[in-house]
Every structure is written in C-alpha cells, then in structure tokens.
C-alpha cells in the first residue's frame, strides 16, 4: 500500500518540479491562496510530494510521512470540492499542469477518494494501531 501511495506521490511531483511556472498557473486558478503565496507553493509543494513519496517507498519516517500524506490528500480534495461548490470548473493539476480539454472534476474527486482510502488504511496500520 505504501509503495502504491509513494509511487503516486513521486509520479505526481515530477511534472510539477520540471514545470513550476505551469504549476503556479494551476494553483492561481484555484483562487484559494493569496497571490503572494502562489509561487512559493508552486516551488515547494512538488518537493513535499517527492519527499513524501520517497519516504513512503523506502519506509523512512513512516508515521510522519503517512500523517502528512493523509493531510495533503484531504487538503487537495477539499480545495477541489470547494471550487466545485462555488461553481468554478478548473483543472485538477494533480499529475500534470495540462489545461487541455474540459476538467473531469468527478473523476478527480473519485481518484482522490480512492487515494484517501489507501492513505487512511496506512494511517490505521502505521499510527493508530501502533498507539493502541
């Protein structure tokens, strides 16, 4: 499970690390962050994904990586849902910054829900069960 989630995070980070300007455009399109924060997020968020993915794959700092992965996925889905609720039809920008075609918002949400399920299982296994 952690290999799957880690692989997804690493895959999601590569395009964004290579094309930070395009990713900044995606973040700006969400219209959730103050303008001054957009580029800062665009340069650091992909690295967070890369680190989380690598840590999950190699089993480094698992409790922290799992908690942070859950948080990140919930925040991503929350941002998408918030924009759906206010009628803003935007591209996810989750794996690429490709803005071609109409946004497939339902697919983005289903995909995120599946990832959150995997991440929640990991959270239970790595953090909650260990505490108990």
């Amino acid at each position: 499970m952690r290999l799957l989630l880690g692989g997804v995070f690493v895959w999601a980070s590569t395009y964004k690390i290579l094309h930070p300007a395009a990713f900044a455009g995606v973040i700006a399109n969400y219209q959730l962050l103050p303008d001054a924060w957009v580029n800062g997020f665009a340069v650091t968020l992909p690295w967070l994904e890369l680190l989380l993915g690598s840590f999950l794959i190699f089993g480094i700092w698992l409790p922290g990586a799992v908690v942070l992965s859950n948080l990140l996925l919930v925040v991503f889905s929350g941002a998408l849902l918030f924009n759906v609720a206010r009628g803003l039809d935007i591209h996810c920008g989750c794996f690429t910054s490709d803005a071609m075609g109409n946004p497939k918002t339902t697919w983005y949400l289903v995909r995120n829900a599946a990832l959150i399920t995997v991440a929640a299982c990991l959270l239970f296994k790595v953090v909650i069960r260990k505490r108990a």
Binding site: I17, P20, G25, N29, V43, L50, G59, W61, G64, V126
Partner: protein, 184 residues
C-alpha cells in the same frame, strides 16, 4: 534511519508525537529543497509574482470590453480579429485558440512589440485567459488600449468557453512572433 530504527531508538516515544515531529521535519525539508532547487534552476520562478490581482484597475472600462463567445466566434471565422492568449506561456503551448498569439500579462512590457509589432492600431484584438475570475485578459486589454489599440475586446473565461463550443484550437509554440520595432 528507518521507522523501525527510530522506534527502537525511542521505545517510549508515543507514535503520535513521533509522527508530529517527523511531519514537521519533512515539511521543512520540502521547503528547503524547493527553495534551493528554484534558486539554482535557469528558469527560476520569482517567489513574488502577479497572477490574479484582486482589484484590477479600470473596472468601468473593462465592462465595455467584454464580448460573448458567439461574437468572438463570428470574428474568428470572418478572420476579422487577432486573438491574444494572456495565460502563462506553458498553458498556451498546451493548447490555445487557433492562430492566437501568446502575450502573458507578466511578459507584456517585454514582449509587446515582438508579439503585436506588425498589427495596426485599428485591428480587432480579442484577449482571453481561463476561469471566470481570471483577470489577465482584462489587464492586457487595458494595457493594449493604453498602447493605442482601438478595438480591443475581452472574451471572459475564453479558453474554457472556446473548448466547450468545440471551436478550432491548436497546440504547440504557435506562430512566429514579429520583432517589429516600428510598433505604434
């Protein structure tokens, strides 16, 4: 330094606390890596940049500039207007209105002459970006008016609307720009 070793080293440390400091450390590492990599890359992204200003100037002027997608479509098929894409260059290359030229807001001053140097002041120009509250098309339109363009229009949420209508699009770097220093 894997999780097992960490736990072995601190057998009494609660997992919650462990997760907390590890999360903080990962966040810190990500910020440092991101900032350092950005600092060293040739196409460095400025940390502070204008994307969608909250209070674009000239609201009244903007209201008179808007055209509908049907009007824009008419101008397009009559080849009566030049379309100007004001989104970042990367988005333009991923897809744009056919024959549109790329003039991102952030590059306006630098690229204006190269992109629109061969265009007369009476040419119909339609600017567009993407998203209903995207301001760059309006701001570029206002800049064009200041430069002396007389027929400037804004197609709001243009890229999305254009695709929804299945109108002609193109992908790639687009037409060559025109480095004409005799721009008006």
């Amino acid at each position: 330094m894997d999780a097992t070793k960490m736990t072995t080293r601190n057998p009494r440390q609660p997992t919650g606390l462990l997760a907390l400091w590890q999360s903080g450390a990962i966040l810190l590492l990500a910020v440092i890596s991101g900032l350092l990599s950005n600092q060293w890359r040739p196409d460095r992204l400025p940390l502070m940049a204008r994307h969608a200003p909250e209070n674009p100037s000239g609201q009244a002027a903007e209201d008179g500039l808007r055209i509908s997608v049907e009007e824009a479509q008419g101008l397009f098929f009559a080849r009566a207007a030049l379309f100007v894409d004001t989104r970042p260059r990367e988005f333009y290359e991923l897809g744009h209105i056919q024959d549109a030229r790329s003039l991102p807001l952030e590059d306006f001053d630098k690229r204006f002459k190269a992109v629109l140097g061969d265009v007369g002041p009476d040419m119909f120009i339609v600017t567009y970006c993407d998203g209903e509250s995207c301001h760059s098309s309006k701001l570029v339109a206002l800049e064009l008016l200041e430069k002396g363009c007389m027929n400037v229009h804004v197609l709001e949420n243009g890229w999305t609307l254009w695709q929804q209508q299945h109108l002609p699009v193109a992908v790639g770097p687009g037409p060559e720009t025109h480095d004409n220093t005799a721009a008006y």
